[in-house]
Amino acid sequence: MYVAVKGGEAAIANAHRLLAETRRGDTNVPELSVAQIREQMALLVDRVMTEGSLHDPDLAALALKQARGDLIEAVFLVRAYRTTLPRFGASEPVETGAMSLRRRISATYKDLPGGQVLGPTFDYTHRLIDFALAAEGEAPVAAEAEPLADAAHAPRVTDLLGRDGLIEPSAPDDGSAPGDLTREPLDFPADRALRLQALARGDEGFVLALGYSTQRGYGRTHPFVGEIRVGTVAVEFVPEELGFAVPLGEIDLTECQMVNQFHGSAEVPPQFTRGYGLAFGQSERKAMAMALVDRALRAEELGEPVGAPAQDQEFVLAHCDALQATGFVEHLKLPHYVDFQAELELVRRLRAEHAARHGRHETEMKEAAE
């Protein structure tokens, strides 16, 4: 129960002024610009966009500055901002097969058309702190090489497997609009499109832990990374007044195609199945974890035993949103004075009753001991 109380206005206003001063930190240290955050904290910006469910690198960088680097607070700011804007509509589905690749790796095929391209990755680094970064220096220069002729054509690994019927085909587009959990509240059971939307904006840590749990045996899916690709795709939108697809620009995406074992059923021969992950920016861990959980959530559809947390869509989808989770956890710090007063009264009454019931017994015990 909440009761309006007064008296905190001045303290609140001053706390916000103190926050602003604290946010700035030591004024002898140069202030961070939003562009610096966007360029040099790019993966954090990508995460704010992904979990904020709003693509806008400058806005995400500004939110991070305002939030003093608190990821979930930045997500909160971005989500709040989006509620102030009108929705023009939905884009044409992006074509990740035509992605302009900055990174593309497969753990299932060594040689594949278009090749394996590492791009800017932490993989194979030694994870030794680089103290040289603490000093200002010359901007590093990347190596260059002549692109090979086949670099422009890199079909998805799942397309290659699909040609031989070794992997399940994707459900064909029937032209119906996918559900949107920002418009209608999530209802269970949720279809795969809604589940993917929820996972895409879900907290990376939570989705990662659930994906990990499937690897440790809580709903095993026998995954292989068929492919991870990072790069830019064109986004197109058909405005009503124009009636043709207008190019909006390009966005960076990370896609993960998880290829999983499936023993088949009475109707379906043994074949590989898919788990799918897609995220804004370069968000490889998120896309991989999402693909693991997507596949785990298909257990029922594929006739597999269900019981692990990652297979329980109500558990996963109702708890994966960091903003919802933080809202409910953090509301506990708001005044609950009346609630607590009622609890206090109750405990006092129970104690009195307890004493009345056991009081005589205790007196007898005392007398016997003396």
Binding site: V94, A200, F244, V246, Q257, R274
Partner: protein, 157 residues
């Protein structure tokens, strides 16, 4: 398989207009200002719709090629203008740059004046060459990270 290529009925005119729109989207605001200055476009367009920022829900496909799903929104800014001659121009761009959207809508309108079409495309040529150079340089840096597998030793041989 869903068809992702531009509609087969797309006329060369529409393809060219879409290409100009895409170029305007990739341009910086000052590049569009330079392009308009080069065109000597003094005829001040009227706002059909003042520049406005909103959201477009970006969609992906399940498995990359299946049914669509909602990935997340993107900020988009749009503008629509009308030239004194009646031609209307539109712009829809990712991001929140209202001034740039209006400049792009003006260029879209000018492009629809048949006599000025070539000049509009020429004025945007510097943007095209800047982007082509950036893309080529990026492709060279990426190509240097391509893996060339070779077999070091084979157990059974």
């Amino acid at each position: 398989m869903p068809d992702h290529t531009p509609p087969s009925g797309e006329t060369p005119d529409l393809a060219a207009r879409r290409a100009v729109m895409a170029l305007c989207g990739e341009a910086r605001a000052e590049e569009l200002r330079d392009a308009l200055a080069a065109l000597g476009a003094a005829d001040d367009p009227e706002d059909l719709r003042p520049p406005e920022t909103g959201l477009v829900m970006t969609r992906g496909r399940i498995g990359g090629d299946g049914r669509p799903f909602n990935l997340g929104e993107a900020t988009v800014t749009r503008a629509a203008v009308r030239l004194p001659g009646g031609e209307t121009g539109f712009a829809y761009h990712l991001g929140r740059d209202r001034a740039k959207a209006r400049l792009a809508a003006t260029l879209d309108a000018l492009w629809q004046v048949r006599a000025r079409r070539g000049a509009v495309e020429a004025a945007l040529a510097p943007v095209a060459s800047r982007r082509a150079a950036e893309r080529a340089a990026e492709a060279r840096r990426i190509a240097a990270t391509r893996v060339n597998f070779f077999t070091m030793a084979r157990g059974e041989d």
